[in-house]
Symmetry: C2
Subunit: 482 residues, 2 copies
């Protein structure tokens, strides 16, 4: 029995049997892809939604021809989110660096497994080294280190699992065996993954205690203190505080220094969710924004957002890396033991992992710290322009102080009744997308609908922003005169 | 302020500003990559290990030149696991299909977010459709469906979280609030991720009860019944059984039909970890091996193994998809609500996800079900040859019945004392790798060291296998005559 060439040619023959064919296919795919991406500014930021489903995606008995696959790919491009278009400013989904794309391409092709050093002798070492360097950039001590995970939710989960195991003294994770009911504290504006984590790690969503925020969406430390006291009074066992550096909707930063003191006073684990905002460490001018983060026991950070790495790219960093290992490690007896490097699969949630570290490494090489600094500072520069435009218009209102490159605002024209504001803004968002191709997201926040701009795209300029506000003015004018 | 071209050229300019440069870089990278992969058979399966670490991986202030990045990539290739070499038969890490590699490349470039329909209008629908089709292929009913996750551990975790929430009636995940201590049952040979899951979801590693196995590494149903009874007697609350279809070390399959009856009788959730073995559904000849799986409440399955998809590619399928949603969903209030498709980020562990569904879809198009059937059957064909070679040699012993394409065996030469077997096999593994370039893994199993071959590589032939055994004979002979 021998496999037919038709099947073997679906692989990169390790016997040099089909290199030319492979090169040709990659060239064709690249060409089609760049027809889309190099012209992304000319393509709609959003396609018209098309319901597909079965039988459209039916798995076929026989292979499809290459040309049929290409036409399926064309449909993918035509119907996908186009975040490379500078008019796409609605979410934290940036366009990736070219080296990031190449990193995923190579990681996939060589298919090493970050489960163990044996299966990724180069890449395991790279992950150890880069995560540690990031920990140091955040100001964590020499004993710090971290792991990469496939997305920020996983990073938050691992941080709080480790906090739970260490602070409650349950390395085996038996929550039922505890004497007191465990609780954690976080801002009412923290990411929903913190609630998800509460559900997952066995403490329960209701034991993720929401702390009130001030007028700038930052944790109110008085309320934090009061809630800790209240939970103790109720006989519960507080074990962690989650602070946020860059909230999802408005990019605000909790008072990290004050919170770290409260954590210390109460012997609580301090986790900082810097998933979005952590990127400012690359800007000499703006890194002061997250001062206090160096006091954290753990930090989660996503290069997949403001560092322009394609999804997924997330890390969780620990002040005391060995303590993390001790409290978390589940050995895989089928893997070779390694002395110098604990197999990564034993000390992260995932086990088998792909080499998402590669694209981060390549992008850091392509841009250097200095290039990242400039990108971050450019975002702040655009933010200033955007804010000025808002402040020029009395009918627009910012939700609170803008601290990063996320602007959350809405129209509250004085000729409208309060209850009509939501509809006005909803229609403005629709108008911008359908008539002008600008995409802003429309989050619900403090019971109202808001417009949200995330200024990430490096090809976004003041011209785009001014153009956007011309359209907003037009909408406002048209509606006023109705 | 404007970003310099040096920085903008690190991206695929959406304004058609650098397409030629981008094409050239991708061409160069591809060429270097294929110098490695198209000649993988000529390159060592394992490089000599080289300790790197800092300052080798130091993040630089300034960008590196393209040629320096290329030389860093060359070092990556030279020092990585080479699973494309047909002599690499030690782990479940297969070489990926070319379409899989292209899928990752495209997924990264368009960077859609599987968090929500809004951020991946095409790909969300694709994930819904393909996972449902897989659920049906496994024989689950019309109401079934699933989600993709970044690795098998996550799939097992999500399955058992849902089982916990549903069977124990704690949608919020509060394990502390339970009246009785929850326990689950699994084979002593199940994957270590089941223990990890026990730690993570708050039930505790000690409440993952290990069931004895028979001489073929399959769950002993008498012991399973006895353990359930025992746990009830202890006042504990059993809620799930995890059966395995394709154990990690020897590829055995638990008696799924019998176990499903026991689960039903005791009102326990049945999760089948078919992470490895699930691929046999594509072979008409061999899919009977996992008969009974259609009774499962949930199934985890990894295309990243025997379906030749690059890491990561994993899915978890549920008999009753809506019930899963009800028991698991945590809403993200900042995302637009969708009626037709619940945002995937709200119903899986990860939240933001990359489009790992794309490479699976493309590979299914390239190979068709029929192509996958042939690949699976070819693996079984090679297994037969391999087994025959073992049976020809009285000094070799299989650990138990071989049911899939994983052969776990070792030398027990009659001229050696029992306690010397481990060293003999350890040295054989080293000899094969260092003198002949064959890589077999060396798991610890039932307190002994074994050699393990996983026959996945489509370019592996009977010639390679015969060659391997010639070397084994040489080793045996040399050692005998010493």
């Amino acid at each position: 029995m021998k496999l037919e060439d038709e099947i073997l040619n679906q692989f990169i023959g390790p016997d040099n049997s089909n290199r030319k064919q492979v090169e040709k296919l990659i060239k064709n795919v690249t060409s089609q892809l760049l027809d889309f991406l190099s012209n992304a500014e000319q393509k709609p930021t959003y396609p018209t939604f098309k319901q597909l489903d079965c039988p459209h995606f039916q798995i076929q008995e026989k292979p499809l021809s290459e040309s049929k696959i290409h036409s399926n790919l064309q449909e993918l491009y035509d119907l996908s989110m186009n975040s490379a278009n500078p008019n796409y400013i609605g979410h934290m989904d940036s366009m990736p660096t070219l080296w990031s794309v190449i990193g995923d391409y190579i990681a996939s092709a060589i298919n090493n497994n970050l489960l163990s050093l044996e299966m990724s002798p180069f890449l395991t070492q790279l992950e150890y080294s880069l995560t540690k360097q990031f920990a140091r950039l955040f100001g964590l001590p020499e004993a710090s280190g971290g792991v990469m995970l496939s997305g920020g939710t996983l990073s938050n989960i691992q941080a709080l699992l480790v906090a739970r195991n260490i602070k409650l003294g349950i390395k085996n994770g038996n929550v039922f065996s505890l004497k007191k009911e465990p609780v954690i504290f976080t801002s009412e504006h923290s990411h929903s993954s913190i609630q998800k984590t509460g559900m997952m790690i066995g403490i329960g969503v209701e034991n993720v205690i929401k702390i009130k925020t001030d007028e700038n969406s930052k944790i109110d430390c008085n309320d934090l203190n009061a809630q800790i006291e209240e939970q103790l009074r109720l006989g519960k066992q507080p074990f962690a505080i989650v602070a946020t550096a860059g909230t999802t909707v408005s990019g605000n930063i909790d008072p990290l220094k004050d919170i770290s003191k409260i954590a210390e006073q109460n012997n609580l684990w301090l986790h900082v969710d810097a998933i979005y905002g952590g990127a400012v460490i690359f800007s000499k001018k703006h890194k002061h924004l997250i001062t206090g983060i160096e006091q954290a026991d753990s930090i989660s950070f996503n290069p997949q957002k403001w560092l322009y790495i394609s999804k997924t790219s997330s890390m969780v960093l620990f002040r005391d890396f060995n303590k993390m290992i001790d409290s978390f490690r589940i050995s895989a007896p089928y893997m070779k033991e390694q002395n110098a490097y604990v197999n990564l699969g034993e000390i992260n949630i995932q086990g088998t992992k792909y080499a998402e570290i590669l694209k981060l490494w390549l992008s850091l090489q392509g841009l250097g710290k200095s290039g990242y600094g400039k990108l971050i500072e450019y975002s702040f520069h655009l933010t200033k322009i955007f804010k000025t435009e808002i402040s020029k218009r009395p009918f627009l209102k910012l939700v609170c102080k803008t601290e990063m490159n996320i602007l959350c605002f809405r129209g509250e024209p004085n000729y409208l009744a309060l209850e009509k504001f939501d509809t006005w803004n909803e229609n403005l968002q629709l108008y911008l997308l359908s008539q002008t191709d600008f995409f802003l997201s429309l989050p619900k926040y403090k019971n109202n609908l808001w417009l949200r701009a995330v200024l990430l795209n490096p090809f976004l300029t003041s011209k785009h922003i001014k153009n956007l506000f011309t359209h907003i003015d037009y909408y406002e004018n048209t509606n006023k005169n109705r």
